[in-house]
């Protein structure tokens, strides 16, 4: 370096030289420290994210339930037609059984708010299933309403003034009596997995979303797997190196970088508008996801095909196989583990995709799981979006729980992919 041309020999042991060295080493340590700080920040943020989800979500895996004795009087429920009985009155009687002093309608309403809104239907279904209880007493455990659920999990502060609490003093009294009579329990919340969506947090579950996601992923797989493999084989093994092939390759790379919401616009304008696929159907969602997964599938399959050594191809060609036979009988089977790994990773990405599904309408409020790929449905990520938008407090923890379920699916899928890669992939 010309500007630091030295006049004479340098005294490397001088005070100044030692000072320069110290500051240079300090700069080195500073950069190292910044690096550590950056990594710790990233890891800390990830930790914070997962911690808030776990803390927020685990209460939703338990559901407060209340066990009551329902007197099924013959005057309310006709044995000939058990489904048509006056179950509202049955529920009222059962509640009066634990709080006989609640004689006025306002008090009874407060009392009724302890249980889920659909209690009468639970009782009806139980009676219809077992009509012999008519005239006797039915002991049934029903979900508590959302405020009581929150109270039981300690998420509502009892010491707050009454007007800032979602459970008032009268209800608190009723609740304490139920606890004292040992009627309140908090078992594992199976309803989270077996119920479909509901307006009431205590009844809402993920069954519809999981089924919808399954159907959408099935469609996505059925389209993107064969098309992706066929395209990759063509581009890797057959395509001549010309402008046309180059155009296809550039296209695939660009598609991989197109924002997901643009695929949603395509789905809305083409699949729903032009092809007339019903809105909110997993078929439409799955087709959009397939187009998004396709670049991943093609890139992964090409990498796997490339990894097969040419000696395999030459050996097969040498004994007289046609080019198609070489690929179908030798190259493809050997590349399959890599392709499967890539497929699972691509499907895992598709499972977490939300924005395109919103545009094809998979965010509808639907209270039963879809029966096929043409019925309106939600998917796991869109269900998370719907619940995150719901004002009821109970949905906040349900949202976290739904996210944990989604992340669990992703972990399992990626785990399978890693397992497959380690077990089946062959090094040449």
């Amino acid at each position: 370096m010309s500007d630091t041309a030295l006049a004479g020999p340098v005294d490397w042991t001088s005070q100044q030289a030692a000072g320069r060295r110290r500051s240079r080493h300090a700069a080195n340590r500073r950069l190292q420290f910044y690096g550590i700080a950056a990594i710790s920040t990233a890891i800390g943020l990830l930790g914070l994210l997962i911690t808030t989800l776990v803390i927020g979500g685990y209460p939703a895996f338990l559901q407060t339930k209340i066990t009551l004795d329902f007197p099924i009087k013959a005057e309310y429920v006709d044995a000939a037609n058990p489904a048509g009985g006056n179950y509202r009155a049955v529920v009222r009687d059962a509640l009066l059984g634990i709080a006989p002093e609640a004689t006025t309608p306002p008090q009874q309403r407060l009392l009724g708010q302890l249980l889920t809104n659909n209690t009468q239907f639970f009782v009806r279904d139980a009676v219809v299933a077992n009509p012999s209880v008519i005239g006797g007493t039915l002991t049934l455990t029903v979900p508590a309403s959302d405020p009581i659920d929150q109270l039981n999990k300690g998420l509502i502060d009892r010491d707050l003034p009454e007007n800032q609490r979602r459970v008032n003093d009268v209800q608190l009294g009723f609740y304490d009596r139920l606890v004292a009579e040992n009627r309140v329990s908090a078992p594992f919340n199976w309803a989270l997995f077996f119920n479909a969506d509901s307006r009431f947090p205590e009844l809402a579950g993920l069954a519809g979303a999981i089924t919808g996601s399954f159907y959408a992923l099935l469609v996505c797989f059925l389209i993107s797997f064969p098309v992706g493999i066929a395209a990759a084989i063509y581009l890797e093994e057959f395509a001549p190196r010309n402008r046309w092939t180059y155009l296809i390759e550039v296209n695939i790379n660009n598609l991989a970088a197109v924002p997901s919401i643009v695929f949603g616009l395509l789905g809305l304008a083409v699949f729903i508008q032009v092809f007339g696929i019903p809105r909110s159907a997993p078929l439409a969602g799955g087709m959009v996801l397939a187009l998004m997964t396709l670049p991943t599938m093609i890139i992964v399959t090409r990498a796997s095909l490339k990894a097969i050594p040419p000696s395999i191809r030459e050996g097969a060609l040498g004994v007289g196989a046609s080019k198609h036979q070489v690929i179908m009988h030798h190259v493809l089977p050997l590349a399959l583990p890599g392709i499967l790994t890539g497929t699972i990773i691509g499907l895992a990405q598709a499972l977490g995709e939300t924005a395109p599904l919103l545009l094809v309408g998979m965010n509808a409020f639907i209270t039963s799981p879809p029966g096929g790929i043409l019925e309106a449905s939600t998917a796991l990520p869109t269900q998370i979006f719907i619940w995150a938008d719901s004002p009821e407090r109970g949905f906040t923890s349900r949202t976290s729980a739904a996210i944990l379920v989604l992340l669990a699916f992703l972990v399992v899928m990626n785990g399978i992919a890693i397992f497959l890669r380690q077990r089946l992939e062959r090094r040449w």
Binding site: R24, N28, L31, Q32, Y34, G35, I39, A42, I43, L45, L46, L49, T52, L53, F121, A196, L203, V227, G228, A231, Y234, I248, N251, N254, L255, A257, V258, P259, S260, I261, V262, L266, L268, A269, V270, Q273, V274, G276, R279, S280, L294, P295, I298, S322, G352, A355, L358, L359, N363, A364, F365, I366, T367, S368, F385, A388, S400, I403, L406, L410
Partner: protein, 489 residues
């Protein structure tokens, strides 16, 4: 609780479904049966072909058979199955639209006279609903008659499809069977078909791109007929919701997208300001300072961060980050909106960190080892090697990575839909609430999508801008990498 057992869609979804759905479920079931029929007949065809080829092969003194029996079977199967499959797909795709136009033209002229296309559309959707068993109020007798016609026509069309497909398959089966002979080149024929299929599959990528461009352009042009282009690109006022309520073409200024663009830019800049330092320093540490043990821990963690769905980040932004920023702003006496740009941008930055760190990592690793070793051998500290040798050499790759990350940030949807605002304010204050292109697309298209209102079409115009900008950024990133990378190789 599914008490009724019938799927109950929300009011928003129903409104959309009324406008759009073409075919009732019954017709779709027939499609399913047709596909099943195709599979069965193709299998039959395969065994027929293979069986007759085996007979040639077994016949003593006959000609030497050219292709293996399996190829003869496959030859018949692909010619039976594929054309029928294409026929069924096309039929199912266009049956609804054709029946619609037939129904409209079959309406008595006294009934249709003086009705605008929009009103006719309304009548059509009423007919369709009635035909699929959803009646609202008391429909007009003409509508009822048309619905009855539609039901019977759908029935006829669906069964016609099955009959046509089955007849076609049987004819092909018989004809192809006569083609089979010992010297017939069945294998070459099948391989040609397979090659054709593979070419088609690789063209799907191009078709997708074309589909995106055509659908975006088509709806955008319709939009620019209602709202002039310069108003959209340079207008300062974005109030799309008002336009629908007024039930007329939007007044001047209601569709000026500048506030939406600045909002997108603001949030993306915040995201990059968070992600670039953290991501780049992470990459520097991993390349220069970390040993294998640390790398084997940190890299998977970054991959986990990259694999988290964006809707999860969105929820994190709403639940944790936005309230925290609001509290902090309150403590410092800064007025903070509950859905501030800072919260959305910060969380988006977290999402992008792994993107930048892995691309920078790749770029730094691509620098020839001799350059690094040379610098260290001259007595430079690792930090000096990094900042004076490695970073300048890797700069094109890092810049490319940053541009790709920027295009990710601009196109990211869920975080901003959940955490950013809906109202377009023209501001650069990160504590304020802004909206983005993607948020507007989602809010404009969720719910009622009637394709003749500027409100809906505006979403496609925004989508077109988004597509062009992200595509431009990606191309630019690739160009930068390509142009400057070769210097050291």
């Amino acid at each position: 609780m599914s008490v009724s057992g019938v799927p109950q869609t929300g009011p928003m979804a129903t409104a959309g479904a009324l406008r759009i759905s073409h075919s009732p479920l019954r017709g779709q079931n027939v499609v399913g049966y047709s596909l099943l029929l195709i599979v069965i007949l193709s299998l039959v065809a395969y065994y027929v072909g293979r069986g007759s080829a085996r007979r040639f092969a077994g016949a003593a003194g006959g000609d030497k058979i050219h292709s293996l029996p399996g190829y003869h079977g496959a030859f018949i199967a692909v010619w039976v199955g594929i054309p029928a499959f294409v026929l069924v797909l096309l039929w199912a795709s266009f049956q609804g639209a054709i029946l619609d136009s037939l129904i409209v033209s079959s309406l008595p002229s006294a009934f249709t006279e003086g009705k605008s296309p929009a009103e006719l559309n309304l009548v059509l959707s009423e007919i369709r609903n009635l035909a699929s068993g959803r009646a609202f109020g008391a429909p007009a007798p003409e509508v009822e008659a048309a619905a009855a016609r539609l039901v019977s026509w759908q029935h006829i069309a669906s069964w016609a499809m099955v009959v046509v497909a089955a007849t076609m398959m049987l004819l092909v089966l018989v004809y192809a069977r006569t083609r089979i002979a010992p010297r017939f080149r069945a294998r070459n024929n099948v391989e040609r078909v397979l090659s054709g299929l593979m070419v088609f599959c690789s063209v799907v990528a191009i078709l997708t791109t074309v589909g995106i461009i055509v659908s975006l352009l088509y709806e955008s042009i319709a939009f620019f007929r209602l709202v002039p282009l310069h108003e959209f690109l340079f207008g300062l006022k974005w109030e799309p919701q008002i336009a629908l309520r007024a039930d007329q073409v939007a007044g001047a200024g209601a569709f000026g997208a500048i506030p939406v663009f600045t909002g997108t830019l603001l949030i993306s800049v915040i995201a990059l300001a968070v992600a670039i330092p953290i991501g780049l320093l992470t990459a520097i540490f991993l390349v220069e300072y970390a040993d294998d043990r640390v790398r084997n821990v940190v890299k998977p963690i970054m991959e986990i961060l990259a694999g988290i769905p964006t809707v999860v980040f969105g929820f994190f932004a709403v639940l944790t980050v936005a309230p925290a920023i609001r509290e902090a702003g309150g403590l410092m006496g800064i007025a903070t909106s509950p859905n501030s740009a800072l919260a959305a941008g910060f969380v988006m930055g977290i999402m992008i960190i792994p993107f930048i760190s892995s691309l920078s990592d790749d770029a730094l690793r691509a620098v020839p080892r001799s350059m690094r070793d040379g610098s260290l051998a001259m007595g430079a500290t690792p930090a000096e090697t990094m900042t004076k040798v490695m970073l300048p050499a890797a700069l094109p790759g890092i810049m490319g990575g940053i541009l790709l990350a920027a295009s990710r940030a601009i196109g990211e949807t869920m975080i901003v839909v959940m955490a950013a605002g809906l109202i377009a304010t023209l501001t650069l204050n990160p504590m304020d609430s802004v909206t983005t292109v993607t948020v507007q697309i989602v809010t404009l298209l969720i719910g009622d999508t009637s394709f003749d209102s500027p409100k809906t079409l505006a979403a496609f115009a925004l989508g077109l801008v988004l597509f062009i900008v992200t595509l431009g950024l990606n191309v630019l990133a690739l160009q930068i990498v390509k142009k400057y990378r070769e210097q050291y190789e």
